[in-house]
Subunit: 145 residues, 3 copies
């Protein structure tokens, strides 16, 4: 049974490692600019790194929720591949945002696009499960009929 | 097996869509009040929208964790119904908070109430599973004896 | 099947209760120092409580993700025990940070150590599952050969 989720689990742990990397970057930026906790404001160079981490943290549960629904209800391999793409675009977002506010835009739009594909795959897969269970309607058979 | 979680999965994806709606409202508020990232402070009208999104993001993993424990260990349909109620009260919270700080209070208390019911259902269900597994005690039989 | 996750579920609900406790402490601190939402800045005594809650919220999805991967792919009992240790160190972090910024350091390093053990257990377990599925290699047999 773990075969059906081990790719999702692997991407999940990679995502955790990426979050750890972002947290470390904030710690380094705090040292560099001399901003001790609990303070969170400072020069724009610091605030960009800080906000990049906060934004990535806010999206992390959303990403995991979609990764797992898409993987369980649509296709594990596809969901895991999209998950890797999301993690890569988040990395580009973080390094872009650190450089300048405008350089965060392209990767954030790309990462949002990946999430919308995961939403679509999840929605299709769940709809298929609900319809076949409650209405006895098989979406796959309809499409190939 | 997916039958046992497809309602939970559907509510999860709806919750993600609600989070996406909240994120969009912050983007619109940033444009309206001319507050560019990484800045997060501004007039109270902006800060209320911003804090409403942050608070909803902080509660999102808590909500998902309870939705799934209650759904797996107590009853999927009940957990999903409570989940919809929670998402509705979060929407009321967001629009209320945007209007004024005091209008966030009724829906936030209501949403907290829904979460406490999910905590209770989860705790009962998990306790039942633990007791029947380790002690051989069946709570359901005890109650109906 | 719920037997294989009920300890993880129990630790998850305990974690939710701890988060609820942290949220309540912020509400009390807001009243004590007269800081009404949406404001989040104030005297260091308030900001330390506030930041302790925010940091714990940011780590909560990471903690749950690792708890469940380690529990599913390595060993449920060990993951649950490490989970309890994490929740305890988070409590020490919160009360330490409330007292002073420096008193948060020992428990935060300890909690990070627990998370890294969970990362290691998850990675080993997932690697074992991937290798045995795609390469037909059994890590456990290799180690005991």
């Amino acid at each position: 049974m773990l075969d059906q989720i081990h790719l999702l689990a692997a991407v999940t742990v990679l995502g955790v490692l990426e979050q750890a990397y972002f947290f470390l970057q904030v710690i380094y930026a705090r040292r560099l600019f001399g901003i001790s906790p609990p303070k969170t404001s400072g020069p724009p160079e610091f605030e960009r790194v800080f906000r990049a981490q906060v934004n990535s943290s806010e999206y992390f549960p959303i990403f995991l929720a979609l990764l797992w629904q898409a993987g369980l209800f649509f296709h594990q391999g596809l969901a895991a591949a999209l998950g890797l793409l999301y993690l890569y675009s988040r990395y580009c977002y973080f390094t872009g945002y650190r450089a300048s506010s405008s350089e965060r835009l392209t990767p954030i739009y790309f990462s949002a696009g990946v999430l919308w594909i995961l939403v679509g795959a999840s929605a299709l897969g769940i709809l298929h499960s609900l319809l076949s269970h409650y209405v006895g309607l098989n979406l796959l058979q309809l499409l190939t009929a």
